[in-house]
Symmetry: C2
Subunit: 275 residues, 2 copies
Amino acid sequence: MKKLRRSARLVDMTQYLLAHPHTLIPLTFFSEEYGSAKSSISEDLSIIKEAFEEQGIGVLKTVAGAAGGVKYIPQLGLKQAEQFMHGLLEQLAKPERLLPGGYLYMSDILGDPGTLQLIGKLFATVFADKEADVVMTVETKGIPLAYATAAYLNKPVVIVRRDNKVTEGSVVSINYVSGSSKRIQTMSLARRALAEQSRVLIVDDFMKAGGTVRGMIDLLQEFRATVVGCGVLVETADVSERLVDEYISLAKLQEVDLKEKQIALELGSYFTVEG
Amino acid sequence: MKKLRRSARLVDMTQYLLAHPHTLIPLTFFSEEYGSAKSSISEDLSIIKEAFEEQGIGVLKTVAGAAGGVKYIPQLGLKQAEQFMHGLLEQLAKPERLLPGGYLYMSDILGDPGTLQLIGKLFATVFADKEADVVMTVETKGIPLAYATAAYLNKPVVIVRRDNKVTEGSVVSINYVSGSSKRIQTMSLARRALAEQSRVLIVDDFMKAGGTVRGMIDLLQEFRATVVGCGVLVETADVSERLVDEYISLAKLQEVDLKEKQIALELGSYFTVEG
């Protein structure tokens, strides 16, 4: 047990809370860790709480009672989120991103840790109350988004594979029709990868007709799971029939003019639909 | 400009530094942000520095002069690393992890954000001085490790695809022989995904003969890139001829007895080879 001064305690408690989001930490944990009275720890926590809220880092929830403690809930405020997304839309609208089939090159954006952290924090803000047990995505490009989100929710990630050559014991596979290409494809998940009756948050990078997400939802029925939410980074607007009803998007691809090399994007449903 | 008290400054500077590893932050940034004198900021930083070092979070490097500032270098100390890895080895040695072909089921471990953070911090510690421009891996299971590492190094991630159906413009593909299965496979990377002459850190989850990593190294020649390091979570010991010379492993799979369902693991080369 090391006795720390308040200033050192503030630094260490801050990093500990940030590293353990959505986790109830008993006050006794800190008071034992630092050899400090609970009253001092409480004062520290109200300093941190105020700073977190003022700087838009998130909220500290205090739970009273014997089983009580403190919980850090990461939150990206609406203004911060809009500001960040406007910057992202500007990046996404660059003509050189246009790919055949009306897709956008996003690998650089999905490879940047700072950008991912903000997207993950935003999804974690949106779905904070859904009590998801796991965050799920399908390989490959959705994976970084799922991890970024899961890190802020402090939940494990489950990755659905795009083939059935998975060597992880008993596997559940389904065929699904990719809404845009109309081709039949396969996705698979090992039995042991997801507990029965889990509450699942689905995250993906791009949604056209929604065939891939629909496939995940169908696959999840085999695990008697509940889909508690679905978030996509970019959805396309030009879809006659969407295969998924409930989802939120952060950006919407309004129009792609391959000839004129123009991309029109706007904020997604999270920002535009009345909540 | 908001004028903050020291306690609030300490909380906010701590979270800012943690969110921006390996980034030089000028003192003026903080003094302008908080409306404080540089001398106060310097005092704050020495409090944070001491706390970071005492709690094993990492080091704060101060760079003097006009272009100077402070840089947070995440570090997982050798003792912490060994303690963490011993716990991981215990988890990995559970007989139910055995898969056909002498592989181990690791998806649960690679899905857990807390575990990934520690592995990522460990790789970032090992390769901190390599001045990598990007962290690279091949889909699928290495991806979370690459992102966890890249987050602590503050570098982008580049993901090599296992097919050549990548729709990202001009693509470089190579065929390689998976060292263990002896099958010919393909891996691909879009031209635009990696700048020529980049310094690349390769990260992967599992290495048997090293065919996959060898494939990545060969692919990187097409981009005139330099491999500055290679880290794998688990290597297997029973390999007659390794296709890769220089790498570090965190764990070594000594023996797998499929009949007796026993797995023998020990610490990898990072812990056992004289540095």
